[in-house]
């Protein structure tokens, strides 16, 4: 049996999760920084989990140290740096910044619970992909190595009590063959469903650093959620000004072009990508478009709407348009889209993102439909 401290530990982890949930908005606006690249765990600093006490303020207190140096030399560095490795029991004082690790799955779960995101019903053919065995249930047969001792004795106790042979003064419980319980595997069939997310972003002169930061942060959280929903996910990136091209992730968030904006160029490229690589019958397709709402001309907007109607909408789960507010953008494209599809359209989701704090609500708008 596990040591009781494991229960304390689990309890602590739950409190931590609760804290993350409470501060989700803050973490979301910080975005990507909390997950190092290529890692599937993320770290959040958590300063306030310590039990509050009457204690001295740090700054006015100062302290004493040892070493060389002139008056006025800084003593900064981590407190306790070079501390001895010998720990004494019962000494837990001192400020400690807690860094908590959490897996990406857990984070996605918290995001989903907090935003009340529905699980996505995937479309497309459900190929039988694999069976997974998880030892979560209890059965009456099995090998000795999987014997569930506690349950076995519980059964034996139940039987003895009901048969009236249990003597509390002499609490002997002897399991017989019938009492044996074994851990048993639940076989789960996991369906293969694949998704592709196509991000399109306007990188014309009017999209500044701040706007791109918002797109970057939002796409990070969208990816996080979709990854938790699909086993297999591909992400493609398109940037456009007057012309569109497909780029790597890094480039997507870093380039800054200038010049005009023809949104249709991106939609055309998106269409090409889908046609070439992703059969809509098998893939769940998510095109996302981010811009500041300026398009070159009303004519081009017409082309865009046509592309949407004829190809993109019929072939994708939903089309999402996020309009990032910028000083230069007119926001016309949002108006055009909402005129055409309304705000309640089934597979067109429109969202205005005013600033970093609005990211959370925007994510909810995009993913709240469970498609």
């Amino acid at each position: 049996m596990d040591h009781p401290i494991k229960r304390d530990h689990a309890r602590f982890r739950r409190i931590v999760k609760g804290k993350i949930r409470d501060n989700l908005r803050k973490y979301i606006s910080q975005g990507q920084q909390i997950i190092p690249k290529g890692s599937d765990a993320f770290k959040v600093p958590m300063p306030s989990i310590d039990i509050p006490r009457f204690k001295f303020g740090d700054k006015s207190e100062g302290g004493t140290g040892q070493g060389d140096g002139q008056n006025g030399d800084p003593v900064d560095g981590q407190p306790g740096e070079g501390e001895p490795g010998q720990g004494e029991a019962g000494e837990g004082e001192g400020a400690k910044e807690l860094e908590v690790e959490m897996s990406v799955d857990d984070l996605a779960k918290i995001l989903g619970e907090e935003l009340e995101l529905p699980n996505i019903e995937p479309k497309g053919k459900q190929q039988l992909s694999s069976t997974v065995d998880k030892y979560t249930s209890v059965g009456t047969t099995g090998p000795d190595s999987l014997k569930h001792v506690k349950r076995t004795y519980k059964e034996a106790l139940k039987r003895q009590i009901s048969m009236g042979v249990y003597d509390p003064m002499n609490p002997k419980v002897v399991p017989i063959r019938k009492d044996f319980r074994f851990r048993a595997a639940d076989t789960k069939i996991e369906m293969e469903n694949s998704a592709v997310v196509i991000y399109m972003m306007d990188v014309s002169g009017s999209m500044g650093e701040e706007q791109k930061e918002i797109v970057r942060t939002e796409s990070f959280w969208i990816n996080l959620w979709l990854k938790s929903q699909y086993k297999d996910i591909e992400i493609r990136y398109i940037i456009h000004d007057a012309t569109a091209k497909e780029v790597e992730e890094d480039v997507f968030f870093r380039t800054r072009e200038s010049g005009g904006t023809l949104i249709s160029s991106a939609f055309k490229l998106c269409k090409n990508i889908i046609e070439e690589d992703y059969n809509p019958a098998e893939w769940n397709i998510y095109p996302f478009h981010f811009s500041d709402g300026d398009n070159w001309s009303a004519d081009d907007t017409k082309v865009c709407l046509q592309l949407l109607d004829e190809f993109i909408l019929p072939n994708s789960n939903m089309f999402c348009y996020g309009q990032v507010e910028s000083r230069y953008g007119s926001g016309q494209f949002y108006k055009d889209l909402s005129q055409r599809y309304g705000t309640e359209h089934d597979s067109v989701v429109l969202s205005k993102i005013k600033n970093k704090d609005a990211i959370l609500d925007s994510i909810k708008e995009f993913l709240g439909k469970g498609k």
Partner: protein, 504 residues
């Protein structure tokens, strides 16, 4: 749950050898038991303050989380752990090499001697393992009865007040003890009238029950006699620093809550002597591991590795004083001074620097002196009496403070008086602010007024306000705290909803 093992035959032989040397050097210790455990177990034990069974609480889980991560990433490693009990238990780590085990054993005998002989430990309960285990099962029972969340939340609140202790409680004189014993006897008699069953309830809980009785009889008095004199009761709590005891006796709480406070208070007092003798205790143990290793136990081939390990433990830091380092150096300095007769009127009034520098009366009193000091001092008196300007200079000690202009901590001064002052103020009241009860019926509205005895350092207001809201949950009436903030005298008030700072 027993995850520790007895130590091997070889280690037992080593223990016998080390113990023999400890005897030769005149150390006086409790029977010493070493047990072997793996790193996970030692992390568990360390998270629980050295004890195998504690009450359930997430803070142990948090400490365990940190310790095991620290170990996993190679940031830190616990070499040893020793608990103040009789017999004295110490845990060795399985993965440590032979030299580590030698070093740890020598170190542990130093701690053991200190636990047994230092007078601040004279009243600690040496059967604390049992008490902790009992507290654990009591609190588990309360959780079953009242709900885990409810009890845990209450514990959170009590822990938030855990450092509001009265150091004098550690060192009760015989007279005090005697009068307490008499009171206890009187209470027993009272019990027979009151119909209480004699049992193993903690003395603090009994004192709660006594207080409840007193209130009742007082109530009767009031009813019987129109002349109520409640004000007399008020004065008895003024100046009380044992806030937890104050709450047990005076707060409107249920019996289980009083019992939980009593359990946690008991544990906090158990750990208190270790907090007021940190420098001495570690210094003393380090002095003995160093002395015994160098003179007796170490194999010549182990010299380099030992020097490296020892230096690691003694590492100096600019941010804070390493108690191991200051402790051992101070003991050595004292030994040297008393060996060469550098003390007393004649030495102190000598003005010839050259003579002072080479002073040696061959007094040879050093060893005797340090044994005497380990018996009768705590960190404050230790520093106060034996810190010298020469010592500070040699140890390169300085004070630092925050410079608002550069927004960083900077070296302030190497002046002896300033250093001593700073060290003493850091050690005062084991590094916690001194908070005492001023008025338990403030404004005649049953509000609580606490007083922070301000010695120049402000409280952390964020923490203070959270602590007060926890206190409010127990006291159930507004909490007031008289303190000073940014050179102004203020009374902070928490009325259950919000914090207000009033200038006085």
């Amino acid at each position: 749950m027993l995850r520790t093992k007895p130590i091997s035959k070889e280690l037992l032989a080593l223990q016998k050898k080390v113990q023999g040397h400890a005897d030769d050097f005149g150390l006086d210790y409790f029977p010493q038991v070493f047990e072997m455990c793996d790193y996970d177990t030692i992390n568990i034990l360390a998270a629980q303050g050295g004890f195998p069974i504690r009450y359930p609480h997430w803070k142990f889980g948090m400490d365990y989380d940190q310790l095991s991560k620290g170990y996993r990433y190679g940031m830190q490693k616990i070499y040893e752990m020793v608990i103040n009990t009789d017999p004295c238990y110490a845990y060795l780590l399985e993965v440590n090499n032979w030299l580590d085990q030698k070093l740890v054993m020598c170190h542990v005998y130093g701690h053991n001697d200190f636990f047994k002989n230092n007078m601040w430990f004279s009243n600690t309960n040496r059967k604390m393992m049992d008490v902790m285990a009992n507290n654990g099962s009591k609190i588990r029972r309360y959780m079953e009865r009242h709900g885990v969340n409810k009890v845990e939340r209450f514990i959170d609140r009590v822990l938030s007040l855990e450092n509001l202790l009265d150091m004098n409680m550690l060192f009760e004189t015989q007279d005090v003890k005697k009068s307490r014993f008499e009171k206890e006897l009187a209470f027993r008699e009272e019990q027979e009238h009151g119909g209480y069953v004699v049992d193993d309830r903690s003395s603090a809980l009994k004192s709660y029950m006594r207080a409840a009785d007193r209130k009742e009889s007082l109530q009767k008095l009031v009813e019987d006699d129109e002349a109520s004199d409640l004000m007399a009761e008020k004065n008895t709590t003024k100046g009380m620093r044992d806030i937890l005891l104050f709450l047990i006796e005076n707060a409107p709480i249920e019996e289980w809550q009083a019992d939980i406070i009593a359990c946690l208070r008991n544990e906090a007092y158990y750990f208190l002597p270790q907090r007021v003798t940190k420098i001495m205790n570690e210094g003393w143990a380090s002095y003995w591991h160093s002395t015994m290793m160098n003179q007796k136990v170490m194999d010549p081939s182990e010299f380099i590795e030992f020097a490296k390990k020892h230096a690691g433990v003694m590492a100096m830091s600019k941010k804070n004083i390493n108690p191991y380092k200051i402790g051992i150096e101070l003991f050595r300095d004292i030994e040297f001074r008393w060996n060469t007769g550098r003390f007393g009127k004649e030495y102190n009034s000598c003005t010839d620097m050259n003579a002072k520098e080479n002073w040696n009366t061959k007094a040879g009193l050093g060893r005797e002196k340090i044994f005497e000091i380990r018996r009768s001092h705590n960190d404050i008196s230790f520093i106060n009496e034996f810190l010298t300007p020469e010592f500070c200079n040699r140890q390169q000690i300085f004070t630092y403070k925050y410079n608002p202009r550069t927004q960083r901590m900077e070296i302030d001064t190497r002046d002896f008086q300033a250093i001593k002052q700073k060290l003493l103020s850091q050690l005062t009241n084991f590094g916690s602010p001194i908070i005492e009860v001023e008025d338990a019926n403030y404004k005649n509205r049953k509000e609580l007024l606490l007083k922070h005895i301000h010695y120049g350092v402000d409280l952390d207001m964020q923490f203070a306000s959270e602590t007060m809201s926890n206190l409010y949950a127990i006291w159930k009436r507004p909490i007031n705290l008289a303190t000073a903030y940014e050179d102004k005298k203020v009374i902070i008030n928490f009325d259950g909803n919000e914090m207000k700072v009033n200038n006085t």
